[in-house]
């Protein structure tokens, strides 16, 4: 479950921002990899997926919006309040960042690389928190084979 969440987040980071921004193509932006390129919706889609990932993290119901038990509560239960705050505010900062753009994602790739890179770095930082700090706090031994802990 944590594993899947990690993967979803990385997918958002790489596929929705990284690849179009040229992170895997020597900094040459690839606008044809922009999600829903011709629909002008790409920023909205990116924002929506960040909101969804945040909701999953907080255990928020998608229908009622009520705050249920999520990974945030588990971290608090483990007395990892700092980490919880960091992840939660990280999400909010990224969502706010996407709101700053008043253009399409495709335009932003060409004309606002500076801010796109800032957004990408925020995503990258968040992956580190989720993949190393949170996973390690949960103590999940993600193993596919036998393991003796080394």
């Amino acid at each position: 479950m944590i594993n899947e969440y990690n993967r979803d987040f990385e997918l958002a980071k790489t596929a929705k921002v990284g690849v179009p921004l040229g992170k895997q193509s020597l900094d040459v932006p690839l606008p044809n990899y922009v999600e829903a390129r011709y629909g002008d919706l790409s920023f909205d889609l990116l924002r929506a997926s960040l909101v969804a990932l945040k909701k999953v993290y907080n255990g928020q119901s998608f229908e009622t919006g009520n705050d249920g038990v999520g990974m945030d509560d588990y971290l608090v239960h483990l007395e990892e309040n700092d980490l919880d705050n960091m992840i939660d505010s990280g999400f909010q900062e990224m969502i706010d960042k996407t709101d700053e753009f008043s253009m399409t994602l495709e335009d932003a790739l060409e004309n606002d690389t500076q801010r796109m890179n800032e957004l990408y770095n925020m995503l990258q930082g968040q992956v580190v928190h989720i993949k190393t700090d949170m996973t390690s706090a949960f103590g999940v031994l993600i193993t596919y084979q036998d393991n003796d802990g080394d």
Binding site: D27, I142, G149
Partner: protein
């Protein structure tokens, strides 16, 4: 004093003892080898670990060991299964042990992503078995060659196995004497609480004091269990602890056959009467299945008498080398500066089990030197999940992977939206964050290093970012 010591050593090596413990060990360990090999194949791990990957993390000096093409990788496992069967039956015993040892060790040498201490243990034990006369009673070898039969063996053949087990436990215990384990109850604290949903016990497993009890008890157990197993008056209690301890680890952690290997191997500490009883039991079972009566001949040969002084000197010398190596290898880490868990220099082959929880996130970059432009590498395009997990926290693997990326991109031309780039001796960089034993993640490898500039050797790796506690 010197004389007394010599006498004791000579007794521990060359006195004549009942062969039964060795024979029982052969049968039980052979059965474990058989089970372990079949289980490995049945779980689909041969394909997953040794057929599917594109790249393998070889060991320093053994990088020439390569997997067989495609389904041929099943061959060493088939050999292992046959050899294990023959070890149990005691047929062509030394050959069978050699075949098992070579096949198993070959597979282990292929990829250090799959390194486990207990695999290393199996390699060592089977290597030792090649040299032990564990087939000289209750075996097909003696059935076909009655002259081979012996009721006794020289003491070293049993004591070397006890020594090997003692090394595993004692070094595992010494490794636990560190502040994370004893003062923070880490990583057990985070591992145990992950079992909070276990019925009845789950509630306790989240309690901090329980993690401390487990940590301290585990450390004491590892350090002292061998001494309690060695003395007759404490042995039965010690063995009860062996069973409880390993069953608990088996229930809580995904450690496969290791608990069973230890539970059954430690039987070697029991005296020969105990093992004779087991052998009689085996014999009764066999007799009830077959009507063939074995031709029992009274034992005449005494092994001790046959050993010439030169031969004794040889055996003493070789055993000394083995013993010194087994003591020196786990201690080699003292020659490296820095934090052992962070740098992992001199970490493997040292019985450091269940000692740390590392989580890493590694982003690699390939850089076109002429333009200074960089591309992020999609690790999943080159490595399996297990390999990526292992690599992202282990410096030697990080270096091997960087070199592999370099090879993959060397001379490669890529075109993006009409712009072409050709990689000539590309630089490979990495930005890696690691969390050790529940601490906040910190920078492990910085992007400022071109990893292709470093050679993979045994020298201290000063490009690892220093660990701050």
């Amino acid at each position: 004093m010197q004389k007394l010591l010599n006498k004791n050593i000579s007794k521990a090596l060359f006195s004549s003892v009942n062969i039964a413990p060795l024979v029982v060990f052969r049968i039980i360990f052979g059965a474990l080898l058989l089970y372990g090999s079949i289980r490995f194949v049945a779980k689909g791990w041969v394909h997953e670990l040794y057929v599917a990957p594109d790249f393998y993390f070889g060991y320093l000096g053994f990088e020439w060991v390569k997997p067989l093409p495609g389904s041929w990788m099943y061959l060493p496992f088939i050999l292992m299964i046959i050899a294990a069967l023959l070890i149990i039956l005691g047929w062509k015993y030394r050959w069978s042990c050699s075949v098992y040892f070579l096949s198993f060790t070959y597979v282990e040498l292929l990829d250090k992503s799959n390194y486990l201490n207990h695999y290393y243990f199996v390699s060592l034990m089977v290597f030792l078995m090649i040299w032990l006369p564990a087939h000289r009673k209750f075996s097909l070898d003696t059935y076909f060659r009655p002259g081979l039969r012996s009721e006794s063996t020289t003491a070293w053949t049993i004591n070397i196995l006890k020594f090997q087990l003692a090394m595993v436990y004692i070094f595992a215990g010494i490794a636990k004497i560190n502040s994370d384990w004893l003062m923070e109850a880490m990583p057990l604290k985070i591992w145990l609480q992950a079992h909070h949903n276990v019925p009845l016990l789950g509630e306790y497993l989240q309690k901090e004091w329980v993690a401390y009890v487990f940590s301290w008890a585990g450390c004491c157990y590892d350090l002292f269990i061998v001494f309690f197993l060695l003395y007759k008056s404490t042995r039965i209690w010690a063995y009860t602890f062996v069973i409880i301890f390993h069953l608990v680890t088996w229930l809580l952690f995904p450690i496969g056959v290791f608990p069973w290997v230890m539970i059954f191997s430690t039987l070697i500490f029991f005296n020969s009467d105990f093992h004779q009883t087991i052998l009689n039991g085996f014999r009764r079972i066999m007799n009830s299945f077959s009507s063939i009566k074995r031709h029992q001949k009274p034992e005449t040969s005494k092994m001790e008498g046959r050993l010439s002084p030169q031969r004794k000197a040889w055996i003493t010398g070789l055993i000394s080398i083995y013993v010194l190596l087994q003591i020196a290898v786990p201690l080699r880490h003292v020659f490296y500066p820095g934090h052992l868990f962070w740098n992992e220099e001199g970490f493997r082959f040292s019985w450091r089990v269940m000692l740390m929880h590392k989580e890493g996130y590694a982003t690699f970059f390939v850089e076109d030197r002429s333009t200074g432009r960089m591309s992020e590498i999609d690790n999943s395009g080159y490595l399996t999940e297990t390999q990526e997990d292992q690599m992202s926290t282990q410096p030697d693997m990080i270096l091997q992977y960087a070199n592999y990326i370099h090879e993959q991109y060397q001379g490669k031309t890529v075109t993006y939206r009409g712009q072409s780039f050709t990689f000539e001796d590309p630089a490979v960089r990495a930005q890696i964050y690691v969390s050790l034993n529940g601490r906040p993640s910190q920078l492990f490898v910085s992007k400022r290093h071109d990893l292709t500039a470093f050679t993979y050797d045994l020298k201290h790796r000063d490009w690892i970012e220093p660990f701050s506690n």
